[in-house]
C-alpha cells in the first residue's frame, strides 16, 4: 500500500507520520508538497499535524485552499482512506470533508500529554484491529481541539456511528468528549490525538500502530476482492 503524507508550510508532524508508515508499519510512503495537483498514484492520504500557514485566521483555514486539497477531496470522493491528525483534522473540518469546527481549548492552554481514548466504533477501515470499547493511550498536543457542532449534526454523528474515538477524561472541553470522527461514507477520519506518535513501546505506547494496520488490512481485503 502506498501512502502520501501531505506537507503544508508549517506542518511539523510529517516526519513522525512518515516514520510510522515506513519503519513501524512497513509500507510505502512519500512526502507530497501542498502544491501537488495529482494524488492518483497513492492509495491512502495522510494529513499530518502542525501549524499549517501559522494557524493564521483560523487553524486549517488557509491550508484548505491549497492546491493539493482539490486532490484530497477527489481522493475522498473516490473512497480512498483519508486520515487527518490534529492540524490535519482541523483542515478536514475547514474543507468541509468532516462536519463541525474547532474552538480554543476550554482551559485556553496548549495541552501536550498522553490521554486515554475509547474506541467507540471498531467497524471502520481505520479501527478494525481494535476491540469495540477498547481503551487505548495516544498523546494529544493541541491548543484548539475543542470540537463543536450544532445539535442536528451531533444527532447525525451519533445515528451513523460517526464518533470513532472519545476521551475517557475530556482534556479540552470537546463536545460529547469527541476525539475523532469519520465521514458518513466511512473513509475520511479526523482525530486530534496523534496515533503516529504511539507506534512503539519506546515512545510510551504502541496503541496507535493498530490504526495504521487497520487501514492496510481493510485496503488489502477490498483489493483482493476486486482483483
Amino acid at each position: 500500500m502506498r501512502f502520501a503524507v501531505i506537507v503544508f508550510p508549517g506542518s511539523n508532524c510529517d516526519v513522525d507520520m512518515y516514520h510510522a508508515i515506513q519503519d513501524e508499519l512497513g509500507e510505502e510512503v512519500e512526502y507530497v508538497w501542498h502544491d501537488t495537483d495529482n494524488l492518483d498514484e497513492y492509495d491512502g492520504i495522510l494529513l499530518p499535524g502542525g501549524f499549517s500557514y501559522g494557524d493564521y485566521l483560523r487553524t486549517g483555514a488557509i491550508a484548505r485552499f491549497s492546491n493539493v486539497m482539490k486532490e484530497v477531496i477527489k481522493a475522498a470522493n473516490e473512497g480512498k482512506p483519508v486520515l487527518g491528525v490534529c492540524n490535519g483534522f482541523q483542515i478536514l473540518l475547514e474543507a468541509g470533508l468532516l462536519p463541525g469546527a474547532m474552538r480554543r481549548n476550554e482551559s485556553l492552554s496548549f495541552i501536550c500529554k498522553p490521554v486515554e481514548l475509547i474506541v467507540e466504533n471498531n467497524k471502520t477501515m481505520f479501527t478494525g484491529e481494535y476491540q469495540q470499547g477498547q481503551s487505548i493511550t495516544i498523546p494529544i498536543a493541541h491548543g484548539e481541539g475543542n470540537y463543536y457542532c450544532d445539535e442536528k449534526t451531533l444527532a447525525q454523528l451519533k445515528a451513523n456511528n460517526q464518533i470513532v474515538f472519545s476521551y475517557k477524561q475530556n482534556p479540552n472541553g470537546s463536545l460529547e468528549d469527541i476525539a475523532g470522527i469519520i465521514n458518513e461514507q466511512g473513509n475520511v477520519l479526523g482525530m486530534m490525538p496523534h496515533p503516529e506518535r504511539a507506534v512503539d513501546e519506546l515512545l510510551g505506547s504502541a496503541d496507535g500502530l493498530k490504526l495504521f494496520q487497520s487501514i492496510v488490512k481493510a485496503w488489502r481485503e477490498s483489493h483482493v476482492v476486486n482483483a
Partner: protein
C-alpha cells in the same frame, strides 16, 4: 476605493473560552457589572471599485474564508474613501 471594516465573533450559541476568562478577570478587578465579554477579530480591507457589487464581494469572502459559519458570525461597515 472602499475601506471595509469586518468584525468576526463566535456565534452567541458557541461558548467563547477567552471571553469567559476575561469576564472572570474583570470581576476579580472589581467590575462585577461586566456581564459578558465576547472576543472576536477585527479586519480592515481596502477594496478597489469594480463592476462587482461591493456587498456581494464582502459577503462572499467572509463566508468563504474570513469567518467559519459553523461557529462564527460577521458584520461589516463600508466607507468610501476618496483617493487624492
Amino acid at each position: 476605493m472602499y475601506k471595509v471594516k469586518i468584525f468576526v465573533t463566535l456565534r452567541e450559541s458557541v461558548l467563547d473560552p477567552q471571553g469567559k476568562a476575561v469576564t472572570q478577570s474583570l470581576h476579580s478587578l472589581n467590575y462585577p457589572e461586566v456581564a459578558d465579554v465576547r472576543i472576536g477579530k477585527y479586519m480592515e480591507l481596502t477594496i478597489e471599485k469594480s463592476e462587482r457589487d461591493i456587498d456581494k464581494v464582502i459577503n462572499e469572502i467572509c463566508s468563504k474564508l474570513l469567518a467559519n459559519p459553523v461557529i462564527e458570525d460577521y458584520r461589516y461597515e463600508v466607507e468610501e474613501s476618496v483617493v487624492q
